[in-house]
Symmetry: C2
Subunit: 409 residues, 2 copies
Amino acid sequence: MPDISQRGQQMPPSPIRKLVPYAEAAKKKGVKVYHLNIGQPDIETPKPILDAVRHSEFKVLEYSHSAGNESYRRKLVTYYERFDIQVNHQQIIVTTGGSEAILFSFMACLDAGDEVIVPEPFYANYNGFAVEAGVSIRTITADIETGFALPAMQAFEQAITPRTKAILICNPNNPTGYLYSQEELEVLKQLCLKYNLYLFSDEAYREFCYTGTHFSAMNLEGMDNHVIIMDTISKRYSACGGRIGALVTKNQQVLDAVMKFAQARLSPPSFAQIAGEAAVDLPADYFDGIKAEYLARRDVLVEKLNNIPGVFCPNPGGAFYAMARLPIDDADKFCQWLLDSFSHEQQTVMMAPGTGFYATAGLGKQEVRMAYVLNKEDIAKAMICLEKALEIYPGRTVASAAHAKESSR
Amino acid sequence: MPDISQRGQQMPPSPIRKLVPYAEAAKKKGVKVYHLNIGQPDIETPKPILDAVRHSEFKVLEYSHSAGNESYRRKLVTYYERFDIQVNHQQIIVTTGGSEAILFSFMACLDAGDEVIVPEPFYANYNGFAVEAGVSIRTITADIETGFALPAMQAFEQAITPRTKAILICNPNNPTGYLYSQEELEVLKQLCLKYNLYLFSDEAYREFCYTGTHFSAMNLEGMDNHVIIMDTISKRYSACGGRIGALVTKNQQVLDAVMKFAQARLSPPSFAQIAGEAAVDLPADYFDGIKAEYLARRDVLVEKLNNIPGVFCPNPGGAFYAMARLPIDDADKFCQWLLDSFSHEQQTVMMAPGTGFYATAGLGKQEVRMAYVLNKEDIAKAMICLEKALEIYPGRTVASAAHAKESSR
């Protein structure tokens, strides 16, 4: 039997999905599981965009242009204008989800052995695309005490080697919810110009900012040849299954190279491009309601978390994630224990262990990521489960609980 | 400005799409262009499968399972049963087009520097996925005089090195239309068992067989751990824009590895999975009409081609492509000349130059690939254009025309 490849072995399994069998077993036992583990919004996909697909009238489900339908890319230009991002439709390549925008950026800009610097904790699937591209992810650690703000410039400089070719951020951040400020982006700009690096900016959660307005990397002056935006309609319109994203850059060489990767896979999905195009025409106030809902959820989640003895959760400025520190020995054990050994009034909670979001061994063992994609009532119930669980969890670390309490107040 | 990657530079542009600007210019001059250059069927997508999407009633466009909806995979089991291919739904991973099945196979089975043997001429986009995976494609040349039958076993054995890990075929073949026989597949089996190789079998055109029935690599006995099928709904149901394919194998290690790549990109497109699931329920006679239509087109195309002085086209056994030898100096020049310097009664024809389907330099210069995805009348008109063009093309090679005539009759 032929062996699978080294990279097939190195490829990390999804840290978010590996607990699924335990959740399924819990449900079979009649336990209700509150899913705070994945970023699948419960918000309904806006009806007009589903209707655009349902009322479409073509007769042949054809390949689209490899860069996406021109009509959709022209619409996207008007979408970006609303954020004062000035691009033309030839600077946009429609991708199969934000995932493919990440993969294409890695493939077109980095070679095997090249390094990309990512503040940790970070979106775990970056690891997978790095393995596919043979690229090394080097992390610098953001501190929960600062709410996971951008690490100091010196930390970046210490991590830079001759093989470093890019810095990758997610803004606002998954998993921390941190919203990077313009000042922080200016620091990244200095680094990119000084060391001749690309700045990959994953802006999947651009609309979800609660503590300030979003400053896009695309608006850093003098950085046109350095910045590549990775984007997606998944979170914005609760349209994760559409698999439509975009890669946006003003660097013509990158556009030319990415286009070749886009041609090899022929085209992005046609149905969801129709949805994406209709989405740009949603009423201007569409996001107001959505944002208000997420904000209310965040407030419930973060307040309840910080009221649990020994728990600390910084207040996220954007996205719909929060990263909390718990008084526990091992987040992986705890998250599994919640599913296979605990229930409170026949209910429990599923969260993503923090370890999956760090590359540095040992980090994240006391942290969990929660996606506030449930309604407020369910979030409140989930927090009761968490509080009750922490009271009896055998691996509770009283000492660190006290410490956390201390430092968080 | 940071450089793009080596692989971004090595990545080949699509040989099929590079003539597009010349076609657009011709159309602007009022010339009608018969598109025989791409495998985009003109056949209407079956209404029931588009209706399944249009009548879908979900409220949230969610991620599906990373391996595809279980309901769809279970349906696919019944689809494969019709071809006596016995698999269960856990041996099927739904991919984003057949393209992703190719990429995942390369990624999960091959490392950078590993070699895959492909008979040439071959589907040009294999090159792109090979560059992405850092894999080397080694070709052995099939002969137009034999209709592009499988090269002799010795030719494969001469090409095998310690780095060879797989053989890749497309059956029936794009670009040649050749339908491999069970006997030819048995030869590949011997090679794979003797040298411990994977057999990647791209069966995108399984339904389109005219000179015999399809024998799937999956039905080679004793090859369960070697065979990986790459599949797609694109051609089968004229649903190219859906971007739904499948990777099918009984090798559990490969399934486990591919699943990690599938998780990293989250899920295949949801809309088109609905279409794909409905497609399995199309009436049993759905393909009869389609096949009859393609067969009639093939007959018109091949007969008219062989009636043009100096042209030779073997009769394809499947798919909807034909590869013809023309009495010309350079297929790239000729195909461009057809668009920018020729018209007959304000009409011309667009074809894919043969060179793009060969890895060996110099081969394919007298060959073109034609996709018979136009109706018979348009094919006949396109052939008139081709005949008139060959009469006046400045790069016509009279000698080889005579030779071709000789050898083809």
